[in-house]
């Protein structure tokens, strides 16, 4: 091979190797600048007293100590968020599943219903909140109007500490179209022969749901379980705009607490520490769920350990 040809060959080889990286470079750059960068930066920040204006000062783990031992708002907002999650997560999954099962029936107009149920998920949060503010309004709200027709004296949904959190749970569930869509996709990938075989051997509909649909859907359920937990912890927009955390801080979510520390009290370092605690909590919960999944999630390609493998 001549020298020129050899050089050309080497160059071509180099270009071939480089090409894939060029293709993914926009994502890589975005990841470094907008995800990994801020992540590392906020971690560093969390060890500083970092006001928006003025001197920043390294204070070690003091932010964390204060948060855990001297700041009742931290615990209160965490508790509100957990209460919210305890309602939101199961209802999000169960209602999403029920809707998906209903829409999976071959009925006329199921396409239209699918769109209708998914619509709230694409409406902007602010518009959604405006609608809900109107629904929940104590005196002029449609909800209390309807309850009134039934002879029930509706509560002050957003003004009563006993009801406000529930009102936000309901408003948040408005967006379960995403969950529904994921589960619906899962449902449609279950071979229909499984149901036909079950039907022929006299397995009733409820048993088909429990013993076939849910196990076959379990990977999707796991996925929505984890994303619902994350969504619950990050709940901010609806509460911020609908109740502003009130009344009596009954809807003062953890995310709002972080938001206030950062943008009301301008304690960026403290807010960064809050965020890292939230991240660790979500991480721990997700890991617990993942860990439990081997007991209840059925994976298509799985070979159980200990099973005979000489097939």
């Amino acid at each position: 091979m001549s020298g020129v040809q050899d050089r050309q060959y080497q160059r071509q080889k180099f270009v071939d190797k480089l090409t894939p990286y060029l293709f993914i470079s926009p994502w890589i750059l975005g990841f470094f600048f907008f995800t990994l960068g801020p992540l590392v930066f906020s971690f560093v920040m969390s060890f500083y007293d970092w006001p928006v204006v003025g001197e920043r000062e390294f204070i070690g783990t003091q932010n964390y100590e204060v948060m855990l031992t001297q700041d009742p708002l931290f615990w209160d907002s965490l508790w509100v968020t957990i209460k919210f999650g305890l309602f939101f997560v199961p209802f999000n999954i169960i209602l999403g599943l029920l809707l998906a099962v209903l829409l999976n029936q071959r009925v006329i107009g199921s396409g239209i219903f699918r769109t209708i149920f998914y619509l709230p998920s694409v409406i902007s949060g602010v518009a959604l909140v405006t609608i809900w503010a109107w629904i929940y309004s104590h005196e002029y709200g449609i909800l209390n109007f309807l309850l009134g027709l039934a002879g029930i004296d509706g509560p002050n949904w957003l003004g009563d500490p006993n009801w406000a959190l529930l009102a936000i749970v309901i408003a948040s569930l408005w967006g379960l179209g995403g969950t529904m869509l994921i589960l619906l996709t899962g449902l449609q990938s279950i071979p229909k022969e499984l149901y036909e075989a079950a039907k022929m051997s006299g397995v009733p509909a409820w048993a088909r749901l429990i013993f076939i649909t849910i196990p076959m859907l379990s990977p999707m359920i796991l996925f929505t379980f984890i994303t619902s937990i994350i969504a619950a912890f990050q709940q901010l927009t609806i509460a911020l705009l609908l109740t502003g955390g009130g009344p009596l801080e009954s809807t003062y979510f953890f995310a709002m607490y972080i938001y206030d520390n950062a943008f009301k009290h301008f304690e960026m370092g403290y807010a960064a520490a809050n965020s890292w605690v939230m991240f660790l909590i979500i991480l721990a919960l997700s890991m617990m769920v993942m860990k439990s999944s081997s007991a209840w999630v059925y994976y298509e390609g799985e070979m159980k350990k200990g099973g005979n493998k000489d097939a």
């Binding site: 499984l194 075989a197 013993f211 070979m303």
Partner: protein, 388 residues
């Protein structure tokens, strides 16, 4: 155990008529195949019997009881699906017992039935495995086992062997035949593979675009096809067809002639065929065409290709009218591409079809006749326990 009677069954998908008036009478304990090209409605007919498709017209009667209006679970029918339809998240034992346990069968009895089915199918060691951990043949057995444990009146099998490789298919075919003998239950078997249908069945239903083209024993279909469709569908390589003109030349005889054919062929028929005249189709199977000397021949042609299979040679011949015929000659026949050859169509092997494609039942030789009759009575004999 029970026979199946189907009367005037019609099924439409939207405006598409898929089953166009099916009438069948399947006897108790019989093994019947539905055979036909893909899309002819075999699966739909099977699913209609199972109750998985609602039928538009007609009646299905199982063991004297009309079942068309019953839900699938109440029909006492078990079905084996083409893709097995095993529950992937349950082990083999659960797959077999699932239906039973939800129908209130006592645990001890379930276990007995599962163990029994597993023994019959030799899958006892596999009971703890998941379907993913099984080979294709083993999955097929489990699918059949799921039908056996229910002890149904009727087995339906939709192309159960089509996902297996060729070798396994032959093995499973034999096992299925044995299983049928052992259980003695009525079985309906859907296939597009004529070898499966011919080897397994007591009788075969040939379906053509949603209609029964013929319902008969395997040898009847082969030696006495009722119409052009059955004649061309059954047998491999296919029957050769030639446009001819035919006329009655006796009480039970047709004489056919064609352009480019030297001489005439007189075909003896089983029934009377008076006043027949006009264009017809002559059919002759490749192994019945004789390659002869010029003076004995009906037609001549040129060899296009010779496929040598060892025991036989398949000779593709271009006739003068442009048509291609396949003739089967002995393995060492010297024919070579480009050779001129002379073809003889022995009258006793000729099938004649009228303008509508219906066959004139031809006179069969004594040997063939008695074979067909024996096959017809075999099933009855097996029922009475005389066979082995």
């Amino acid at each position: 155990m029970a026979g199946v009677k189907i009367d005037g069954l019609e099924k439409k998908f939207g405006s598409l008529r898929v089953l166009k008036g099916i009438d069948l009478d399947i006897r108790d304990g019989e093994f019947v195949s539905f055979l036909g090209p893909s899309g002819c409605g075999k699966t739909t007919l099977l699913r209609s019997i199972a109750g998985l498709e609602e039928i538009d017209e007609g009646q299905v009667v199982l063991g004297g009881q009309p079942i068309s209006k019953l839900p699938p679970a109440k029909r006492d029918i078990a079905m084996v699906f083409q893709n097995y339809a095993l529950y992937p998240h349950m082990n083999v034992y659960k797959n077999l017992s699932f239906g039973l346990s939800l129908n209130g069968v006592p645990k001890a009895q379930i276990d007995e039935r599962v163990q029994n089915a597993a023994r019959i199918l030799q899958i006892t060691e596999l009971l703890k495995r998941r379907p993913k951990q099984l080979s294709g043949g083993q999955r097929q057995r489990v699918a059949i086992g799921r039908a056996i444990v229910r002890d149904p009146k009727l087995f339906l099998l939709d192309e159960p062997l089509s996902n297996l490789d060729a070798g396994l298919r032959v093995t499973m075919r034999v096992e299925l035949a044995n299983l049928h003998k052992r259980l003695g239950v009525t079985m309906i078997y859907v296939t597009h593979d004529q070898v499966e249908a011919m080897t397994l069945s007591d009788r075969v239903v040939v379906l053509d675009q949603g209609k029964v083209a013929q319902f008969g024993t395997p040898l009847e279909l082969f030696y006495a096809p009722r119409n052009l469709f059955v004649a061309s569908f059954i047998g491999s390589p296919k029957m050769n067809f030639l446009d001819v003109s035919a006329k009655s030349s006796g009480e039970k005889e047709l004489t056919v002639s064609a352009a480019g054919m030297s001489g005439e062929i007189k075909v003896a028929l089983e029934g009377a065929a008076k006043d027949v005249v006009g264009p017809h189709t002559l059919g002759i199977r490749p192994d019945n065409i004789e390659l002869v000397a010029q003076d004995e021949a009906h037609m001549n042609g040129q060899v296009l290709l010779v496929e040598r299979l060892g025991t036989e040679s398949q000779v593709h011949i271009k006739l003068e009218n442009g048509q291609t015929f396949v003739a089967i000659a002995r393995g060492t026949h010297p024919a070579a591409t480009g050779d001129g050859v002379y073809l003889k169509f022995p009258a006793q092997h000729c099938h004649i079809f009228n303008g509508e494609g219906q066959a004139y039942p031809r006179e069969l030789d004594a040997e063939t006749r008695s074979l067909i009759d024996r096959q017809k009575s075999l099933h009855g004999a097996a029922q009475r326990g005389e066979e082995k």
